[in-house]
């Protein structure tokens, strides 16, 4: 469901699942719980086609985990449909969202 890599001391979480919904958001949270303690975290959302409020909650818990350890978390490559939900619940204001991986890395 996720894969991780490190680039320039930035942990990049790639969501490999195309869906993040109530059925797998718990698993997502568990898998990312440790990773997000890193000071610089990026989440690659490019593969994600659908996200529901649970998925959103999981992403939000990543942000909180990161903030707890005074880290920074950014998202990039959000599909149009996923962005719709983000905008609907104003998450686009809460998250730092970049268009591309390069842009995201450069913003740290």
């Amino acid at each position: 469901m996720i894969s991780t890599q490190t680039e320039n001391d930035i942990r990049i979480i790639t969501v490999t699942a195309d869906v993040l919904d109530a059925s797998n958001s718990k698993e997502f949270k568990e898998q990312t719980a440790e990773i997000v303690k890193h000071p610089k975290v990026l989440i690659d959302m490019s593969a994600l086609k659908f996200i529901d409020s649970s998925g959103l909650g999981a992403i939000l818990s990543c942000l909180r985990g990161c903030n707890e350890s005074s880290g920074e978390l950014k998202l990039f490559a959000i599909s149009k449909t996923v962005r719709t939900l983000f905008e609907l619940v104003r998450m686009h204001k809460v998250f730092d969202i970049c268009n591309t991986k390069e842009e995201a890395i450069a913003s740290f």
Binding site: A22, S23, F50, D52, S53, S54, T84, L88
Partner: protein, 583 residues
Amino acid sequence: MSQDIVIPFSSFETIFPLHVVFNDSLVVVSVSEEMQSLCAAINVGIPFKNCFRILQPYLEDFTYEQICAMPDEKYIIQTSNHLKFKANVIVQEKTVVFLCQLFIDDVEDYSALPKMEFGGDLLLCTKALDKKIENFKALEQSLRQKEEVIVEKERALVAEKEQARINKEKLSQNNKEIGFEIQKALLLGRLPKRENLTIEVLNIPSQEVSGDFYDFFNHDTKCMDLVIGDVMGKGIAAALVAAALKGVLLRCAGKANLPTRGFISPQKIMLRLMEEITPELIELETFATMCYNRFNLFTHKLISVDFGHTNILHYKFLSEQVQRIVGKNLPLGVQTQPNLEIAEEHFDDNDIFLFYSDGVIEVQNEKGEMFGEQKLMNILKQNSTKTPGEIIAKVRESLIEYSYQDFKDDVTCIVVKIEEVFSQTRIYNVLMITSCLDELKRVRNYITKTASKIRYFQNEENLNNLLLAANEVVANIIRHGYKNDPDNVIRIEISVSHSWIRICFVDKGIPFSMADEKNMNDIDEITDADLQQMSGGFGLYIIHSLVDKVTYHRDSKGNNYLSLIKNFQSETLRTASSDLDIT
């Protein structure tokens, strides 16, 4: 008529002691002894004028014929020796009998008077009596005849009166029939046959014609107008005003269907009607209540313009409740109102509307209590699964049972049922899932498969919004309704009409109000910092934000029905064709 009194000759001399008998030549043929003793000159063979002079009556020439002509005459005669007599005359068989009586004044020697002198009086009395009897009999006869005439006249009068009553009744019956004919032909519309609306009407005319009216206007297969109204008062006058009102209405509504401009709104039709008819109604010192309704099956909306008419009752299938649609405008004929309030009501399949005239709720029982609207609402609710025909039958039955006398006013009741989805729904299918979050994907696939047949949902964002809303519903049911117990089922039904898609979720979980819109609008009030702290609670907000309507009800068997409705057809009818193409 008088009976002859027969006196034997021997007695005659005794009864009439003073008599002289002449023949038809007026010559003495017989004279009584007493008479002769008083006047010796009277003898047989002596002519009349030598015996008597007639003092009274005055007759110039005294003949037998004259005597015969005056049978009842009283004579005063005088003899040659100056004795005066009263005399009566009997004429019989060509003889004349003078029955005489002395004038007492003239008698010097009373001893000379005959002893028996009552005979003449008796005869006279008899004669007078006979005459009186005769008169009485004649009078009696005449009375009897008059009485008969009176009885006859009386009979004729009674017959005449009866005829007049029958005529009056006939006339009144005729008037009534004419009234009923007017009402039927002009005031009561014909029931339209439609595929998507089932309509039934109850109209019980009262003893008198009244001003109740209703009609239906079919614009096209997706649009029908219904008007119901009542003119103040009763009788032909009210019926005529109603007919005139309907005439104006037909003209105003007739202009409604202009192919180039689409349909004119009920509000405009009613404004036109009001402007035209109000001055006339004011002049006639009457007013009318009315309610004009448009059923729009594109938008699933009832638009209603009311003029002080009774409420509309709306049975909502999804919530299983009956609610009133209450008008705010004044009756027609009070004054021209600058603006007309309109009521807009969304309806679903199987919803029922009930329109009625005040005659329905004013039916009284023996205590004078009125039937009332609540009873009507109860009937509607209790019979909501029945056909309009059955509901109408129930209303009729209840009214008749309740009332203790004939209806004083017309009873008009119209039931309109929005028909079952199948006739108007282009797509209908069902999916059963278990109460497991892994099923979410299957739900989304199922909805995608169905919705993507509709052009509107071929747009990725439109489809995603629908999927998102449905996803939130199912996730909520599983997590909150079923508390993540995977051994339950959820039934998902999709109906698609020309203008909307409805996804209905049926479950048996704990009831919780996802349809409640409370606290859903305040996401803007949450600070970004707080938003960040939220772990959930977006679901309901998401659902309400992404579809046009959310309905929820729980039936008596514990099934929860939650429906999401998304319109993909704009409400105006002019865009009738393009968007609803199903590919």
